[in-house]
Symmetry: C2
Subunit: 246 residues, 2 copies
């Protein structure tokens, strides 16, 4: 592939173009969710599987943390751990996601065990953790840049779900509220980092590929949910089966 | 989980029971394939995606090889590398799979690039490689035991495909013929190894979990193919789209 060195603005534009093409807000499962077209069992399947993603975010952030070279950078990244794991008083993102799962009618112990998730969910999420562990630090940081696009999808999801599902309350969706301010802080930092450090064509291409990879991680999770719980309803052996059918 | 220590025969029976429940011969995509219900584009998608699995088998076998402690064990396992990579004269499994892909009308260069595979395929296959790298040697070897079940699926696949697809020749399916004798040799060795080394309840449970994991790896690949190329036809951004549609 022949490519030119991009300016910082050009790199940002190229990253945003990837989001516009491949972010999971474009997936039919997301549209069904926020349009209120999913029944309770389908929303449960989403919450249960997505919990595994949430649960691995601090793992992947700890892997990034371990590779950052300065106290300043580690302090910056450490905030993400607190956002997801809490501080022992204020619940973090994982605890809030368990509340969400409970709010849609799931047994939190089942959710926390992650035994009933789809293989496709597990492999996609684990791929993210392994990517962050095995690739360059620059690629690991770049793979977090889907957060550039997350405030829009979160707003859409929250308003859509509250409008369409009378069995979902604002309290159940409390997970998302802090993310609306946390995600932009995180992605501003990560974007500035990759703009400063991707100083060759090869590195810029690696950054773009890392974001494409991360979009695939999110997309594949919704693919798995769609196949198992929307159509044709092909649930892998051992995975969650909604009670009362559909 | 409370479980009793199994005899070698009991362990084999438990392994075979997992296959009977979770092996991908039970997946609807396999049935469509061997019943001749897939069109050419769908068979192409299968061959193209499955190539990535084939291409990573020697990688995972090399990871096992690197962890085996004796020349005797490494010689035994090295045969697998030769089966898949060939000896420079006789083509190995990967080269034969490329022939298969070409035989069903694909550009071998596209197949070899693996750029058009589904994210779900990539994540499932990579999960297998990472499992073999990161888990115990016993679990790594146990995860190869799906070969206990492969001669049956291969016979079914070959006879079904030859009977139903007049554009598929026996030469195209040459990949499978050596596997009918190679797989039993390999699985006999791996079975004897886990029977000899899984000498505690914990190790036996780990062996059974490793085989379940591997069944999930195969199952998830067919899940991905089904969603993208059978129904509802949701092809992930950037993945292979059959020419001429369906």
């Amino acid at each position: 592939m022949s490519a030119a060195l991009l300016s910082p603005e050009g790199l940002e534009a190229a990253l945003r173009a990837i989001g516009a093409e491949r972010y999971h807000s474009l997936h039919p499962f997301h549209r069904l969710l926020h349009d209120g077209k999913l029944d309770r069992g389908q929303v449960q399947a989403w919450a249960l599987n997505r919990y595994y993603y949430q649960s691995q975010i601090p793992v992947k952030d700890a892997l990034v943390l371990a590779r950052l070279p300065t106290s300043e950078l580690r302090r910056e990244w450490r905030r993400r751990l607190e956002d997801h794991d809490g501080d022992g008083h204020k619940p973090g993102g994982i605890a809030r996601w368990l509340k969400l799962a409970e709010g849609v009618g799931l047994d939190p112990a089942l959710v926390e065990s992650t035994t009933a998730i789809l293989p496709t969910t597990r492999f996609a999420v684990d791929a993210y953790v392994h990517f962050v562990r095995d690739r360059t630090l620059l690629e690991a940081i770049a793979s977090s840049l889907t957060e550039l696009f997350s405030p829009a999808i979160i707003s859409e999801r929250v308003s859509g779900m509250l409008a369409h599902y009378d069995w979902i309350t604002a309290e159940t969706l409390a997970y998302f509220m802090p993310r609306l301010t946390q995600a932009p802080v995180d992605s501003d930092f990560a974007l500035a980092y990759v703009q400063a450090h991707a100083d060759t064509v090869e590195k810029q291409q690696a950054v773009l590929a890392a974001l494409r990879f991360k979009c695939d991680v999110l997309w594949s999770q919704l693919d798995g949910l769609y196949l198992a719980y929307v159509a044709p309803g092909l649930i892998a052996p051992g995975a969650f089966a909604p009670a009362g059918g559909r």
